[in-house]
Amino acid sequence: MAAVQKVPLTRRGALIVLALAIATIVPVRSVRLQADRVSPAKAGHYGDADGTPRRHEDTKPSHQPGNDLRAFVPSWRFQTATAVEARRIVSIIPATTEMLFAMGAGDRLVAVGSYDRYPPDVEKLPRVGALLDPNVERILALKPDLVVLYGTQTDLRTQLERAGVPFYPYVHRGLPDVTGTIRSLGARVGVAAQANALADRIEQQLARIRARVARSPKPKTLLVFGREPGTLRGIDASGGVGFLHDMLETAGGVNVLADVKQQSVMMSSELVLTRAPEVIVELRYGRGDPVPRDDLKAWDALASVPAVKNRNILVLQGEEFVVPGPRVADATMKLAAVLHPLAFR
């Protein structure tokens, strides 16, 4: 300690300190990741109901680049990683419900959230509320062994903790987090192999889209996901963070709001005029959101915007555009196809 104070930190000293710091951090992180990888295999000891051993699932190391994305997922997500595999799951988030179905764990769901609409099988399951109104009584009555909820639902978390029901807190962020969540949720539920395969498939699909648009010019795009019909009021657009922004960049567009570090930006007409997007993409996803032709005429008021002048206002319809679940790759593909019609002919 005294020596450090006496000798001023030279460049070499600084390097040594840095190296030491890295040396201490790296093993900790790798241990954490290993623990996570091991847990489903451990779960495999208990076996499936049909007695199939699941140990082999995680022995195959994955070389997908996205695999290290787990490093970005905060550790508290894995707090329940040592638990046994889940057989009675309640998922109240559209994205995670889709993920569970896509990784082949749909038959383990005993209830879903009020807004979960995909796949159609969700219609057969009871609904137990959602972000703002989770019905704790009904959730507990179903005796779940895992509840997938939003990380921000602190009340629900406290109640579940008190009742001793394990939960998986979900956070909605960028596109890499989608596959990150699929992997960690799969590991938690006990279907790691399928989940990893699904995540790999999504990452490959996204990589293919990136490669396909790589050489096309990237249009300056405004990605709108909400607007008061018939007017230019209440325009909500994707800012420079979040999965919509990531999808847009992957699909070969340049987000005109990339510098605004918010997931959603309230657009004024002035902002549309000054950002001058070359393409405006409007996402529609509500229950039978009508798309009357007249509705797009509202944009005509901003005639100096290149997208308006060149009639480059595109409407994409589908819930997959706003649910950061396993359909993100398909949604990104559709977005890329409208942004680069030539590359996708």
């Binding site: 018939g230 007409s269 008021a301 100096s304």
Partner: protein
């Protein structure tokens, strides 16, 4: 001051524009970004702010005088709750397919405020001589609470995207983007202002107390009906333009009275001008001071107005 603010406000924004270019007739309007920023984005916004701010402030003056309660505001009688209910119903049940290029939202919020206004009118008709205006005030508070409960009920039915839109609407926004959204509500506004313009003397007397007013030959019942209906009409039209922008209707009347005194011949026009310019300034801040994404004007009004009002109060009483 109002004139200065209104002339200068459109010139300021998140992006610098050149006025000479904006007014340059040789460039086609469709290609002139500066002109579009000025005429399409800023001017209607400033006009909307003037109208909404002025209307809320005048309505506040009238309500405070008639109900003889300093806490009365345009929302006290449930008028803006009614407007909010109309808007939330439209958003939640997806009734807002555009009619002829105009959103159904302002129409619905106006209809909602008209509904609440009807109840207020019935209350004031039913109010017999001798009942205190406090009864009317309480009735308004109850109506307001009832409508607020209906609002939440409707929102619970809605999808989360609808809830999000409803909340956005309730924060208020003056980015109208077209002159039609301003001109249509202007008609009831002018009618209401004309009616209120006949009242300053009555307001002076009524704020002294009903018996005092009656002894000077004022038909309080009739004046009250005219005043409440027109103030509610003003509120409803303002809400249909900008959403329920908070604070202006309750505090601006007090600020104005602190500055010009209690004479309603002065207070009414001053409230109209001050309310208008106050909201223009708040909106200016809302759209410039918080980065390109801006901030809802409703958040700024109280942020600026609150400390300003406290400062005025302290200065007055020191």
């Amino acid at each position: 001051m109002a004139i200065v603010v209104c002339t200068l406000a459109p010139l300021v924004g998140t992006t610098a524009i050149s006025l000479s270019r904006a007014f340059d007739r040789t460039i086609a309007f469709a290609d002139n970004v500066d002109a579009q920023v000025f005429f399409v984005a800023r001017l209607p916004r400033v006009l909307a702010a003037v109208l909404v701010g002025g209307a809320f402030a005048v309505a506040g003056v009238v309500f405070q005088a008639f109900l003889r309660n300093p806490l009365a505001s345009p929302d006290t009688l449930g008028v803006s709750s009614g407007a909010t209910l109309g808007a939330v119903v439209v958003i939640t049940f997806h009734l807002d397919t555009a009619f002829g290029g105009m959103s159904a939202l302002p129409v619905a919020s106006f209809a909602g405020s008209a509904g609440a206004l009807g109840v207020v009118y019935l209350m004031s008709v039913a109010r017999r001589r001798g009942t205190s205006s406090t009864v009317l005030l309480l009735g308004g508070v109850a109506l307001s609470a009832f409508l607020g409960a209906l609002n939440r009920l409707v929102q619970v039915i809605g999808d989360y995207t609808d809830v999000f839109r409803s909340m956005r609407w309730m924060m208020g926004s003056l980015d109208v983007g077209s002159y039609r959204d301003i001109v249509v509500p202007l008609v009831p506004m002018i009618l209401a202002l004309a009616a209120i313009a006949t009242l300053p003397r009555v307001l002076d007397l009524v704020s002294l107390g009903e018996p005092a007013a009656e002894s000077r030959g004022v038909d309080v019942r009739k004046a009250e009906r005219v005043a409440l209906v027109s103030a509610s009409l003003l509120t409803g039209s303002a809400v249909s333009i900008g959403g329920p922008v908070p604070f202006v209707g309750i505090i601006v009347p007090h600020i104005v009275r602190l500055i010009v005194g209690a004479d309603h011949r002065l207070v009414l026009p001053a409230a109209l001008l001050f309310g208008g310019s106050f909201l223009v300034l708040c909106d200016l801040l809302a759209r410039t001071a918080f980065g390109p994404a801006g901030m809802p004007v409703g958040a700024v009004t109280a942020l600026i107005g609150g400390p300003f009002f406290l400062w005025l109060l302290f200065r007055k009483f020191r």
